[in-house]
Amino acid sequence: MKRRTLLTGAAALGVVAPLARPHAATPVKVRWWYHFDDPTASPAGLVQAFEKAHPGIKIEAEGIPWGGGSDYDTRLYTAIIAGNAPDTAMVKFQNQPRLMEMQALVPLDKWISAWAGKSDISDDLWRLTRAPDGKMYYLPLQYVVLYLYVRQDWFAKKNLPLPTNFENFLSGAEATTGDGHWGFGMRGGPGGHDHWGSLVLGNGAKLEKGGLITPKALAANRWFIDLYRVHHVFPPSAPNDGFVQTIANMKAGRTAMTIHHIGSANEMVKALGDAITAVPVPRGADGKGWTDFGDGSNAIFAQSKNQEAAWEWLAYLSSGEANVIFNKLSGQVTVTKSGGAHWDAEPKRFLDATVESLPLAHVLPPTPQTADFTRTVWPQTTQKALLGQVSPDDMMRTFEKLFYGD
């Protein structure tokens, strides 16, 4: 095998390059990458409070553009490959398999087991965060669970129950469709796999070998495609709609339902007031359902020379009051039990819907293919099926092949 190549050369460089970091007396610098939805939100207050309590550590916080996820990832992967990774950064589950394969992560178990804040984070979150090899590489920081937004005023006017299962979801969607209105604002662009997941994975399909092509799974997916092609309860623009369009349509009163999370609750209420509420996504006949667990964690990178100091910072961000402040900046929900007890950032009915949805919350399989699935394979294939270019069954076979091979 040829050795003088770019990537290995760069990895070697990380070792050889002189370290410009001064020793001893000067405080230890911790580089941390983050992303917030609100460009005016700054973690400076948290950094200040932390540095005051830890005089030996200086935090260099850098906001990275999210860019649909791909900008953030591209920047992170490039930095890791070039040996220039930050000490720690905000990360998502779907990247964990790739980061593990790159041997870029440090297990956090030894610190977590000795950490006082451990019991303040619910066991559910620890379970969801654990890597397939049994270790903990991510420290939970924030979360959301996707739920169903419903125009309760329209449903009340037509005397319809708020959706609980797939039958009354469809009848509700059909009854609220017409005259420039649509029953469900479907996200067909990149990232819309979470809508599809609730309507197909919650209705009989399973993310396991063979689980996407069982008769039940194929029937669920046909039902999903029919929502658009037969019942016309999605807006015609659904194949290209992203979260911007689905949320804007909901706020504008053009759709009766859509799936999103508590991060948009305040803007919804500003636009629609009491007319809007949220319920857990529909459940199948077996009482089970599927909704996406929207995660946000911190990880420490193996390249870091300051892992101890980085851990101090992460532990601070995930504990008690600091985590509450952090999540008010990021617009998501605190991971601590103590902070959740007095959570008041959004109207209560949206937090209730979030908590009620937790038992349905799932994550996509922890495999390297997942990032490609959400970003490219899911939108391309689903759009083709919605447009009738491929059959719903072939759509499921494509997914099965991507995740589990032939």
């Binding site: 770019l6 050369g9 760069a10 460089l13 390059a17 992303h35 917030f36 939805d37 609100d38 460009p39 005016t40 260099e60 850098e62 906001g63 990275i64 553009p65 999210w66 860019g67 649909g68 996820g69 900008d71 591209t74 920047r75 490039t78 930095a79 490959i81 070039a82 040996g83 220039n84 979260f243 911007v244 949320i247 804007a248 706020k251 504008a252 009163g253 053009r254 999103h260 999370h261 991060g263 948009s264 803007e267 500003k270 636009a271 617009g331």
Partner: protein, 274 residues
Amino acid sequence: MKRLRLFLGTELPVLAILAFGLGPWLWMMLTSVRPTLELTHSPISIIPGSFTLVHYITLLRRTSFLYNLRDSLVVASGAVVLGLLLSLPAAYAFSRFRFPGRHVLRIQFLVVNMFPVVLLVLPLFILMRQLGLLDTYYALIMGHATFTLPFAIWLMTGYMDGLPTELDESAMVDGATRLQLLRLVILPLAAPGVVAVGLYLFIASWNEYLFALMLAGRHVRTVTVALQMFIGENTINWGLLTAGGTLVALPVVFLFLFAQKRLVSGLTGGAVKG
């Protein structure tokens, strides 16, 4: 009558082109002075129901947009200077000399430019790290040169090819050196070309996002990266985005408003007949 002909034949078509060219920008400007809630009103009112400057105030007071504008100005100006310094002599050589390998060399400049930039960014990142230039103005100025330089050289050569060679010859007869010739004869004549190429270099750097994202970020952050920060994972801040988008075009407009004085014929009848 003559006035009417000018209006119908020139001014009216210009107005039509400007309507197309400015329409989306004006729509963005109208969006930037609407209260956020009005953005999702349906049907849309073309004239805002109420007028607000809150997005501009937030943009300038609560984000780092002004510093980002400064960084963009430094980087784009640097890119213009570097680009012109390198492309003027190169274009002169291509335009006025016939030497072996000229064609191959000229094409070589374009070949390296045909590569999708997205695949060059990783090697370039490693190079800039080796040079210790990551997150500096130099990294971006040099990074932008990678894709602007070939264009600048070709475009400049195109303009110089259009200039008659009689002037060179008479200057050479008068005993001028090649460098004097370039500076005193060609440069003034090629002024419109220099303005066009300079504007090209400026705008290409001004609008560049990928390198600005990858090669800088903390100490140097350009407006393109700053604008991208307004697009979150779950929300787009339309108010800030459209306010920033409206403002970001203005420096280029002013620049061109002044630079175009040089965009007049450098050729006078006497000079050519000379």
